[in-house]
């Protein structure tokens, strides 16, 4: 979309001249935006700067360093201010206009319909200044936002969000109706607000008690500690060596003190073990407390709202996030109920979006419902699924011998290992076989619970024994089918059906139904094939089967190439 120079067309009133476009872009960023841009740029230099300041004090070099950094800082500031002076945005009735670029000027037209997601982000600093960062995402772009507006007054940002939403909804309804000329950007900022707000429903709010439960269940604290440990090990041979040594020495001293104390108190083995257990318990407790703190930090004030076309999420204690997800962009669902979830009577829902996103993006709406009771979850899923109901009906069992397959695979290696150790090292290793009944029980329970269903255009797979998970998708969102049969499958008369969707997260288990009776698998494959959309992507309109297929023709291919922008990622 860069450098949009639209040729003025005579008969199309919606095409505006370059001059008119420039005139339409009449709003500026917040007057303090240069400060936030500067802060952001400085953040990239912060660590090197600190290292230099701490380590380097060598007279002559120092002067040059100081000079260099002040020149750089001045240049950055000039750039930031210049950017503020240049940057303008404005509204047409079908698109957003953005003028930007410090040296190379850009004039961008972003049609409302192309904008898939508007993210409002406010850090603590932003909130003090009553401003927000706005990120506009479109379908393609490899996860790179279409535009980033840094920063807008909060009221302006919310206005922008509402206008985009209203414009998108309107675009769908009235695109075909002839549009009048519109040199937009008058003061009727509030136009379309009522439309955007009509029909919004609050689906979920998370009070602090829920967040505490979420923190206890999710155990995010562990991830942070692991990441911290990783960073520490990386730092050992760098400038932080001294710091690391100091910490290590301190820890050692504490440990020695502890040992001496234990000696003085004449503690026996039992007490030592008890102390160790206590210490461990304290550690676990600390981790959980950290998890709860992080849950509150990220999800405080969580709201999930639903409009007719979009889902909206708002959350965050210090830095607030406000995001949107068009309903049709949800590709597949993952509902999870771990053992802890079951103890608390809660569930967790994540969705795959049709977007390339980083694996652990905090700013994504992948975790659509962080925590909710099964009843709330059923209500939300009932709204989202085409059949308007959850739980789904008509669950079908797996092959009767599925439990044997489930038992064999994980048990084989440990059994061989036990035998090996027992034969060559210690016969006591045979005690390892005591866990076999547990594994058999697990396989049995798993096989009895697991199953699939094809209900109202939703194909679902559930599994679990102590924990439970459901993975499901609408059949019209499926991208491909694969039926496989391994030699083991063949022996039992089984087959595995794999279903492919857009943007399936690598962190989720794949949508794959194993251990099916081969006849059942083939029948399901045929049923899915018959229900998958024909020919058109967006509308699922069946095409006549007998339509003559065009044979290759020179020129046709080139013609098609022109028309095939990579639009597919958004479709389906």
């Amino acid at each position: 979309m860069d450098h949009t120079e639209m040729a003025p067309a005579q008969d199309d009133p919606t095409v505006l001249s370059d001059h008119e476009l420039r005139a339409a872009a009449q709003y500026r960023l917040h007057p303090l935006s240069w400060l936030f841009i500067l802060l952001r740029q400085l953040r990239a230099f912060a660590l090197p700067l600190v290292v230099v300041l701490v380590s380097g004090t060598r007279g002559e070099d120092d002067k040059w360093l100081l000079l260099g950094s002040s020149v750089a800082a001045a240049a950055l500031m000039a750039g930031a201010v210049w950017n503020y002076l240049i940057y303008r945005y404005g509204y047409l009735d079908h698109a957003l206009v953005i003028r930007s670029g410090v040296l190379q000027r850009k004039l961008r037209l972003i049609p409302f319909e192309r904008i898939q997601n508007v993210t409002l982000h406010q850090t603590l600093l932003h909130r003090l200044a009553q401003v927000a960062e706005v990120r506009l995402e479109s379908a393609g772009g490899m996860g790179k936002p279409e535009a980033e507006m840094r920063v807008l007054r909060l009221a302006d940002a919310q206005l922008l969000e509402r206008r985009l939403r209203a414009g998108r909804a309107e675009g769908v309804q009235t695109r075909s109706v002839a549009q009048g000329v519109q040199a937009a950007g008058d003061d009727d900022h509030a136009q379309g607000d009522e439309e955007a707000h009509g029909g919004d429903a609050l689906w979920l709010r998370l009070p602090t008690a829920e967040l505490v439960r979420y923190g206890l269940i999710s155990n995010r604290g562990m991830l942070v500690v692991l990441a911290g440990a990783g960073v520490l090990t990386q730092l050992t041979d760098s400038a932080f060596d001294a710091l690391y040594d100091a910490v290590y020495a301190r820890a050692e001293a504490v440990a020695l003190d502890g040992a001496r104390l234990a000696e003085q108190l004449h503690l026996g083995v039992v007490s030592l073990v008890a102390a160790a257990v206590l210490l461990l318990a304290a550690l676990v407790l600390a981790l959980r407390v950290l998890s709860v703190a992080m849950a509150i930090l990220h999800y405080h004030g969580f709201r999930l709202e639903a409009g007719a076309r979009d889902l909206r999420m708002e959350r965050g204690l210090l830095s607030r996030l406000r995001m949107q997800l068009p309903r049709h962009r949800i590709q597949a669902y993952a509902l999870q109920e771990s053992l802890l979830h079951r103890w608390f009577g809660r569930q967790n829902l994540r969705v795959d979006r049709a977007t390339l996103e980083k694996a652990n993006d905090q700013k994504s709406m992948r975790e659509l419902v962080p925590i909710a009771t099964p009843e709330t979850m059923a209500r939300i899923l009932g709204e989202l699924l085409p059949g308007r109901r959850w739980p789904l009906q008509g669950w079908q069992p797996l092959h009767p011998r599925a439990w044997r397959r489930k038992l064999m695979l994980p048990v084989l290696l440990p059994v061989l290992l036990c035998f090996g150790i027992a034969a060559f090292e210690n016969p006591l290793a045979l005690a390892g076989f005591l866990v076999l009944p547990v594994w058999a029980l697990r396989a049995k329970v798993w096989a009895r619970y697991s199953g699939w269903t094809l209900d109202d255009g939703v194909i679902a797979w559930r599994q679990g024994w102590l924990d439970r998970s459901w993975r499901f998708a609408e059949v019209r969102r499926l991208q491909g089918l694969r039926l496989t049969q391994s030699p083991f499958d063949r022996r039992h008369g089984m087959a595995t059906l794999c279903l492919d969707t857009i943007g399936a997260s690598p962190l989720e288990s794949p949508l794959r139904i194993p251990y099916l009776d081969v006849a059942v698998a083939a029948a399901l494959y045929e049923r899915l094939r018959a229900q998958m959309p024909r020919e058109t992507m967006e509308m699922a309109v069946p095409m006549p089967v007998s339509m003559p297929m065009p044979v290759s023709m020179p020129g046709r291919e080139a013609m098609l190439r022109e028309g095939t922008a990579p639009a597919g990622a958004s479709a389906g």
Binding site: L483, A522, M537, V545, M549, T564
Partner: protein, 226 residues
């Protein structure tokens, strides 16, 4: 297309009309629910690859085997030779059977793979079956095809073959890659699978409330190849 007896099995009425009267009727499969895995790798509606593909597969397998046996057998031998180790003849004796096994396995795998590949194009889309021991049947629905590539490596060029790659928007199965097609077959498969909605998209946005292409519309926008 030139050889009427080799008329594409996936052409529908239009294709056969162009190919001539004596071309066999097109086996566009009429929803025949063939039970999967019952008749592996499958008869009549399923198409095998041309015979040249067997040779092409074998040649590729031989090249791969050559690379592997150089790494596994050849290099240690060379080092032993340069070091002037006394047991060189013994090593040679041990290495040669190993290399023979590698080559034999490669050739065997190539022909097993060739014998078990079947494909079929019907109103649903392209299906491909592969494998003898681990059996797989993949279906890429027509409506899900994003774009198509045809690749010709040096070996395939030698035999007049091509690799067809069907891309979808999916994640784990985002590209179905099948080597060993006739160049001609690959090209026509590609043309038959090109998404048709795009042809409708080429026209300016129509003011009609329902943009679903009626068959008549589609026929107008997508000209017949004659």
């Amino acid at each position: 297309m030139i050889d009427p007896s080799g008329a594409a099995p996936f052409d529908t009425a239009a294709g056969t009309a162009a190919a001539g009267a004596q071309a066999p009727p097109v086996p566009v499969v009429e929803r025949a629910p063939t039970p999967a895995f019952a008749d592996w790798p499958g008869d009549a509606p399923w198409q095998a690859l041309p015979d040249a593909a067997r040779r092409s597969f074998r040649l590729s397998a031989l090249l791969l085997a050559a690379v592997i046996s150089t790494a596994v057998g050849g290099l240690p031998l060379l080092i032993a030779f340069l070091d002037q180790e006394p047991e060189l003849p013994l090593r040679l004796l041990l290495t040669l059977p190993l290399i023979a096994v590698i080559f034999g396995f490669a050739l065997w795998r190539a022909s097993v793979a060739y014998r078990n590949i079947r494909w079929r194009l019907d109103e649903d889309g392209l299906r491909v079956r592969r494998g003898r021991i681990w059996r797989t049947e993949v279906l890429v629905p027509r409506a899900r095809v994003q774009h198509l590539d045809i690749e010709r490596g040096p070996i395939e060029r030698r035999y007049g073959l091509a690799t067809l790659i069907v891309h979808t928007a999916g994640t784990r199965m985002n590209a179905l890659r099948q080597p060993g097609f006739d160049e001609d077959t690959a090209a026509r498969l590609r043309d038959a699978l090109v998404p048709k909605i795009r042809e409708v998209d080429l026209s300016p946005a129509s003011p009609s409330p329902s943009p679903s292409p009626s068959p008549a519309d589609a026929a107008v926008v997508a000209p017949r190849g004659d």
